[in-house]
Amino acid sequence: MTTTTKPDPEQKLKAKDYASDQEVKWCPGCGDYGILKSVQKAFADMGIPKHEVAVISGIGCSSRFPYYMDTYGFHSIHGRAPAVASGVKLANPKLSVWVATGDGDALSIGGNHFIHMIRRNVGLKVLLFNNRIYGLTKGQYSPTSEQGKVTRSTPDGSVDTPFKPLALALGSQATFVARGFDIMSPHLQTIIREAQAHEGTAFIEVYQNCNIFNDHAYDSIVEKKIRDDMLVHVEHGKPLLYGKDLDKGLIWTCNTLTAVKIGDFDEDLGREVTLEDIVVWDAKDPNPTLAFGLTQLREGIDPTPIGVLRAIEGPKSYDTMVHEQLAQVQAKKPARSIEELLHSGKTWQV
């Protein structure tokens, strides 16, 4: 159901109003701090009343999130946040319900709930803190750790093939898919605001640094000096350009997205690339093929897409449909008294 929470700038809530009185206990330098700040700032900007927010989490470093938000919150059990949150949203669709989860919580132990939440399109907003490591259990590889990763449980390197969370979400028929960074707060806040406005499940993958067990995980793409060349900002209606001078971009040839430099000769095109060749992003395209194409770009070789990849309009959320169905039945059949209920079947007198 569309969240009825109307942004109310009159209230002028500040980011710190969303902070609980609890001391934040993440390791100093953890990327989670940045995400917490971004969420609090975005909520303040939108003016969402605190009592209309519920933050639901599972288990893991990221899942301590609710304790630090002065909203309603529920720190549940490992992997089950989407299920708990689905119950909350179904019980009260007016709430703005956020799920805070991690790569282990959402994609390993909670994989089943994750895909089913998305396919149902429950009106939940999901922040997946992806640090590609198990932090709270002290440094084992996670389902998003790169192949070959040496961790405490993979001393000779992991042979597991990692998940691409955005591809998994798209494969689960997600209606909203986005990616941001812990250290790029204004960008992440924009995504959070768009997620809040989305009707169904809004899935946000946040690349987050664990400075204890997997430090520098994203340095090769997000370091300030190289960022412009390694990240491509995906924005609806705008061409997929990147590079400091926006002289590079992505073209769609041979059923794949290819990184090119404008002016360079491209073999598939058989000519020099022009600005017109660059894909203009349509986040509202019901066909997820191009969005899926973005998730398949090779990290470190191709630019890594960030921003809102998909935000399709139209599909109703699961909770909206459940409550519409309730209302339809109730319009035809009024609620029964206990007496009427008990006598509703075939009865007889003795």
């Binding site: 709930h113 169905q325 309730l326 008990l342």
Partner: protein, 623 residues
Amino acid sequence: MTSVESPGSQGLKKEVEVLDEAIIRFAGDSGDGMQLTGTQFTNTAALLGNDLATFPDYPAEIRAPIGTLAGVSAFQIRFSNFDIHTPGHRPDVLVAMNPASLAVHIDDLKVGGVLLVNTAVFRKREIQMAGFEKNPLEDEAFLGHYRVIQVDLNQLTKETLKDSPLDSRSQMRCKNMAALGILFWLYNRDMESTFDEINTKFGKKPDVAEANIKVIKAGYNYGETAELLQHTYKVEKADLPKGTYRNISGNNATAYGCVVASKLAGVSLFLGSYPITPASDILHTLSGMKQDDVITFQAEDEIAGICSAIGASFAGRLAMTTTSGPGVALKSEAIGLAVMTELPLVIVNVQRGGPSTGLPTKTEQADLFQALYGRNGECPMPVLAAATPSDCFDMAIEAFRIATKYMIPVMLLTDGYLGNGSEPWLLPNVEDLPEIKVEFRTDPEGFLPYAHDEKTLARPWVKPGTPGLEHRIGGLEKADGTGNVEYSPDNHFHMTKLRQARVDIIADDIAEPAFMGDRDGGDLLVVGWGSTYGAICGGVNLARKEGLKVSQLHLRHLNPLHKSLAGTFSKFKQILIPEMNMGQLYTVLRSEMPAMNMVKMSKVMGRPFYNDEIHAKIQEMIG
């Protein structure tokens, strides 16, 4: 037993024997419609004012290969002119629609009982599949034990429907109705209510309705015309307490109880569930009750079933989950979460044969230990058990009464025998139903999420969306009062004791267990819980008629136990505890009251106890 003369339809004199009770077992292939036939006979018996009890016994396979022993499905009904508690043991009449069903059930048929067989499928192949060396219907010695009615039901059906517009396959589906018609004749039943029901059910398919009714009539007339037996029978109305009745299965009673609890509390119901035999009917029934503001969520798995319910409870709905033993195993971590977060929740376990996948369609009561102890940490919760199909209604209400009053998850145990079995239910007066008082906290003044009420030790229930009461809960240990995460040794010990105390004090707020017999004491007290109630009642009654000093006590609250138990037990020389497990309640009671002279009695066969088994055991002990 008396005999009366009654005029037959053609003016012939026919002997009608009046019986106090009768037991009929319908058995056939899974596709033969035996459950439906049995249910139809049941509905008629109910409307005619008999007391009754039923026992559907169907295979786990939806459609095992036709004609196999594995594919046999059965439905037993016992109906009577007096108050009965069980569907009985050995049938007076066995309907065997094929050789396999004969093979599976013939040993139970009383010697001299009526055997109705459909001769159409007693062919070489089917007979071999059933494991007979030769056709039992050609075995004089075998036939001599019973009064056998041999009818080609296929032929009877085909001839009856020769002008029907239905295709031959659809026609053949009506052959169970021919058997039903013969049974109606045998027991001189009025068929109008059955016809009404068929017309309602197939309202949109008048051809089907007409065919079914025609075939029932044909069966009835065939019985009468062919004078299949010299006697027919009559079972008069039972002398039941006055009031309005409806027939109800345990699973439907559970569903109704939960909805009524929601209406008593004024809080809408939420069910999070994953389909599992034999509990799914509760999900089905509640799914059809949207008009009563019930939300049902068929989750992706058992864990999501309970977790969504926990989420809904947090958000201020009356929440529940339904499952069977394997599902409870999956839900146990989440049950711990509900205990820790002090949220009201009802978990219904319709028990089945275990361990593991076990016997999905067969009954057992071996999940008591799981209910009491099956969680990590010190994790006490109230455990209730229903005694009869209609008692599921009362216990569902009781479960929600306790859950909301004490802010605690409650486990309600029923089982396949109760869930699928049915009985006439005297509808309660609404004024007599218990009060369920729910108050959501709205006042921010002095609010602490884990402040505990002095009397009930319940914390406040707050609906998210309430201004000024924002708070966080979770599975980590909480500080009493603030609810903040707190690991200190003293607080953990304090909270552990508090969670136990909240269960313990409920002992002062529950009804005394049902007792039948001599309060002063005697030679033997038979103590049961759950669905063994009927069989124990029957067995104890038989023994008491013989003058044995035996009484019955039945537990519906298994945690906490009622405080009167030790006092009652001490008045009896011996305590017998029959259970469909290896002695779980026995073990619990032994640890509570080690000085008592207790004897266990186990039956773990996927079948309920029978009156005569309990009776025999009583005789053995004190006879």
